[in-house]
């Protein structure tokens, strides 16, 4: 049986940036962690103590086979079992747009973690706007590869929406990273100007209000 070997440079560009926000030897919880690409990298490269929550049994088994601690289950229910500030970081990577009650998830994240990291595809990227504006069709892109009828994304979020949401729900944005990635997300660059128009993803480091 061969053992997977994920090198840091194999990491998706957005995950590399998330990793850059996390200090070494931290306790990290990954929500909807999949087979744990980010967690494995944090564990091996940054000596972090990682735990993941994932609903899909196949992905859980693959992550466990890599040596990660992953609990299969619903992230709302699983988060309830942890005491306050159990983790240094709680990461919700590209899952926010699929969550029914985002405020509940974010509040739980900041209860059990000192800081939260939330990332999501930016629906207001200009290519998406163009598809809607010129073609009159629901946007389909490499970041949003689904048709309207089979998408798991039940929330349409933009970078600007998330900033407003922070005020509404009452959490603080400690750092905001907007990125533009290539088609397979392996590489990309940071966007510092007109990010809501030009970025494919938004990554936010959040905390409780000061």
């Amino acid at each position: 049986m061969s053992l997977p070997n994920t090198h840091r440079n194999d990491l998706r560009y957005d995950l590399r940036l998330i990793s850059s926000l996390i200090s070494s030897s931290s306790r990290v919880l990954g929500l909807g962690c999949g087979e744990g690409e980010l967690l494995h990298s944090l564990k091996t490269q940054k000596d972090s103590l990682c735990t993941g929550i994932e609903l899909d049994a196949d992905l859980v088994s693959k992550g466990v086979a890599k040596g990660l601690n992953i609990v299969q289950g619903d992230l709302n229910e699983e988060m309830e079992d942890y005491g306050d500030k159990t983790f240094d970081y709680v990461v919700l990577s590209q899952t926010l747009q699929q969550i029914f009650d985002p405020a509940r998830v974010i509040r739980s994240m900041l209860r059990i973690g000192h800081k939260g990291i939330v990332s999501f595809p930016n629906f207001s990227h200009f290519e998406n706007r163009c598809q809607l504006f010129f073609k009159g069709k629901a946007p389909v892109s490499s970041q949003l590869p689904y048709q309207w009828h089979n998408t798991p994304n039940i929330r349409v979020i933009t970078i600007r929406d998330f900033r407003e949401y922070a005020r509404e729900v009452g959490f603080t944005i400690l750092e905001e990273i907007a990125i533009n990635t290539d088609n397979n997300d392996k590489s990309g660059r940071r966007i510092r100007f007109l990010s809501n128009l030009r970025a494919t993803y938004g990554i936010f480091l959040i905390g409780e209000p000061a």
């Binding site: 049986m1 086979a65 890599k66 079992d81 005491g83």
Partner: protein, 387 residues
Amino acid sequence: MSEYIEHDVQGVSAGIVEKQYFEAEELVLDNGQALGPVIIAYETHGRLNADRDNVIWICHALTGDSHVAGYYSEEDEKPGWWDFMVGPGKGIDTDRYFVVCSNVLGSCQGSTGPGSINPETGNPYGLNFPVLTLGDMVKAQKALLDHLGIRKITAVVGGSVGGMQVLEWCLRYPEFVRAAIPIAATTRHSALAIAFNEVARQAIMADPNWNHGDYYFGNKPDLGLAVARMIGHITYLSDESMRLKFGRRLQDKFDFSYNFEADFQVESYLRYQGKKFVERFDANSFLYITKAADYYDLGQEHGRGSVVDAFAKTRARYLVISFTSDWLYPTYQSREMVKAMKKSGLEVSFCEIEASWGHDAFLLPSTTLSNMINGFLYNVSSQYAPQ
């Protein structure tokens, strides 16, 4: 628990293995009683390393035995009960680990049990054999561990009642256990599980040959034990697996017999399993082990009723595995222990594997199961490997 499910030999076999015996002069049981001498049958695979810590300790289920993998001889038709999992390059890699599996105290596959000779009378113990706990069984395994000079266990692994022993190992000897894999297990039997066991026990005790456990010189309660096994087999399967495996198909006939013969395949299967079982198992052992499993309550025994408090006393890293179609120890019971482990701040993984084969799924080849166990063990053992 139906350990001898037929399956293909996957990959390289663990090879020829010999049943070994360890004798302890005396074992003080949880009830204070001293039992002795105690013999424990066991087998080992692989080599113990210089640090004496590359050990995978396997606990078998209710009616299993120490023969976990490989063959007793060239002519042997069947390998050990977990042959697909244990062997060179397999889920539990015998090239890397020293694997030990022993027959539980109270059983009848080489270890001391109610069918053994009571030194005080010169006759089999029968019902004079002391009532055992799962803790006693683990205590006997610990005596074997000491005898083998093992310093630490990389992981204790087991399914079903074996999984309950895995948990008991973590609680009783936390300093010896680095990791644990309870599979299709529970911290205590539900009313459903106790109910099935009780019907099975009643089947044995209602057999006139049982004779209050005193049958070793005459006819054995084979009919009762066979019915007990038939009940067991129903609980190890699932509605889905029985539908797929048998449906309403008839056995070697085109029409019903209308005379209470085994018409349906499922009837024939259960009768066959029952008949086969009485050749290898002792009815009194069945009574003692099922009762020990029914009495077991991890939270009550180790945490004053709290499973969280109990697990807080352990230090192992856990991989908890359940199966979707298991209705004997359903997934919610595994989730309860995972919850308690999380609340105790322990490192834990949990996976519910999609399987139609019910409680017995852990005894059937599954790449998901093998890969997950392999990777988990590799990670735990590398953590402690000399730098």
